[in-house]
Symmetry: C2
Subunit: 310 residues, 2 copies
């Protein structure tokens, strides 16, 4: 085990080191982890660094919980595009409760019933109906800071960067096509600067989502051709291709679904920018080692690790 040549280790070994150092706390289920003291300090430092950048936009602040109405995932098209990642909530069937000794593990006994709630898989979804219900957008459109939002995806894996529950630090822009695209461009520049500040080597490139099924390939090609998605990608544990940020343009899709209207009466365009907080933290441990006392002075300072005494 060596923290000095972290790039030569695979992701399985990285996971073992993160657990051994108490940075990730296993729950016993794949992709479900707690965070230890030092990990949380780094996480808070990354979040604060992003907040510092976010403030330049003078955004409105919204916070949304990780449960949403099931219909929301249908409306935004998530259920159809990514059915494999969806999680929904069931409860124990009320009128059968007195008749059995309850166990959540005993899923064979047909005592569950559906609720109307699902797990939130992408931080921005609740923001569109929330803003639409206030009425027409201002001339400047709207810029939202959704903070560190907990999201959940049904994707069990032992890869430390493929969690089933994690946090997206998410920003949303709504307005005209020009407003939205300029904002997305500016955030790609900011994200590149942030990665440099913490000495992560990130490359920014057009990307696509893992659309489901036979039609998925075509959707992915269309997404790339129209440059709807860019990602900031780093190497983790010697394996390339881990997206730590994404920059998504939805054209007027959300505007149409939720009736979001610009001041000039046109359908609003929207974009969102998301930073994968756990992925950035794990990329930092991989890059600089599991002992934060050995991290470069500049990185420690910018993440405020000195003040936190770690």
């Amino acid at each position: 085990m060596s923290d000095h040549h972290p790039h030569t280790h695979g992701r399985g070994e990285l996971m073992e080191r993160l657990v051994a150092h108490g940075h990730l706390i296993p729950s016993g289920e794949p992709g479900v982890y707690g965070r230890g003291s030092v990990c949380e300090t780094v996480y808070s430092g990354v979040d604060a660094l992003l907040t510092h950048n976010v403030r330049q936009d003078e955004p409105e602040i919204f916070r949304f919980p990780p449960l949403v109405p099931r219909r929301l995932l249908d409306e935004v098209g998530y259920t159809e595009s990514f059915p494999q990642l969806c999680g929904a909530v069931v409860c124990l069937k009320a009128d059968e409760l007195p008749r059995f000794k309850p166990s959540l593990r005993d899923s064979e006994s047909l005592v569950f019933e559906h609720t109307s709630l699902a797990l939130l898989p992408a931080a921005c979804f609740p923001a569109y109906p929330a803003v639409a219900r206030r009425g027409v957008l201002a001339v400047n459109g709207a810029t939202l800071d959704l903070g560190a939002t907990c999201v959940c995806r049904n994707e069990p894996s032992n890869d430390p960067v493929r969690l089933q529950v994690f946090h997206q630090r998410e920003l949303v822009r709504m307005g005209t096509e020009t407003q939205v695209l300029e904002w997305r461009e500016r955030w790609m520049e900011r994200a590149a600067a942030i990665c440099e500040q913490v000495q992560l080597n990130a490359t920014f490139a057009v990307a696509n989502d893992p659309f489901f099924g036979r039609g998925g390939g075509l959707l992915a090609r269309n997404q790339r051709d129209a440059k709807l998605k860019y990602e900031g990608v780093v190497s983790i544990a010697g394996t390339a291709g881990c997206a730590v940020s994404s920059f998504n343009y939805h054209r007027d899709q959300m505007g149409k679904v939720f009736g979001l209207t610009c001041a000039d009466g046109s359908v609003a365009h929207t974009a969102c920018v998301g930073f994968g907080l756990e992925r950035i933290v794990i990329a930092l441990f991989d890059r600089h080692g599991c002992d934060v006392r050995d991290w470069p002075e500049n990185v420690r300072r910018i993440l405020d690790l000195e003040g936190a005494c770690v």
Copy 2:
């Protein structure tokens, strides 16, 4: 609508005012709300005030996500004591995905299958196995700050203080009976002082949990007789009996279940203290009005609302 005599309004009207001011953002489902800018500022102020008090304990920091293994809720006895509040996670059945146009709302079509995950209903549960796996406790035991933990309960309601997803600011103590009970006592004093600082009239008294079913009454009486649970209770919207904090002694129940052992070899006793962040924030809006510019200077200062310019 008057913010100057909030106590004369019922909770339904309080909810309407919280929504009208943009403090709570409806999702369309009962008990599932986002938080607006001003609400989030108050929420952060309350959290920071608690952090200031928590630091006196020099706790270890842990953070846990709102999904846990289903077996954890069985092990701690939650499934048996509160089956009505449990939520479990299902996903769309993988081998049926290509055959249908997916809709999460279409719960009749039998395309769901169980996962091994449940929603976390009480913040402290993941902490016990996490600490137990490190081995025997130190002589001083362990004191944990779990931060603002998102928890979920299957309890649809239009009462603004009965949410299905909310945050507990949670602390946990593990050690000998004396260590644990002294710590709980100290936190009741701190909680009383905190309520005074923000000018909430709270009373602290023995309480019980809403245990399920016919045996529930006996369990509740035993809990009260042994003084296992105290609550800090406030009036909200003229209705008494809203618990905003709780102080729970588990005797050696968690210690036995998870093999938590004191330095002297005895089974560890545990206690947890939880502050209901949304409830405290809503109690503050009810007590001081929905416009934070009208709040008492002292309260604004202690919650750092000045710095946040609201």
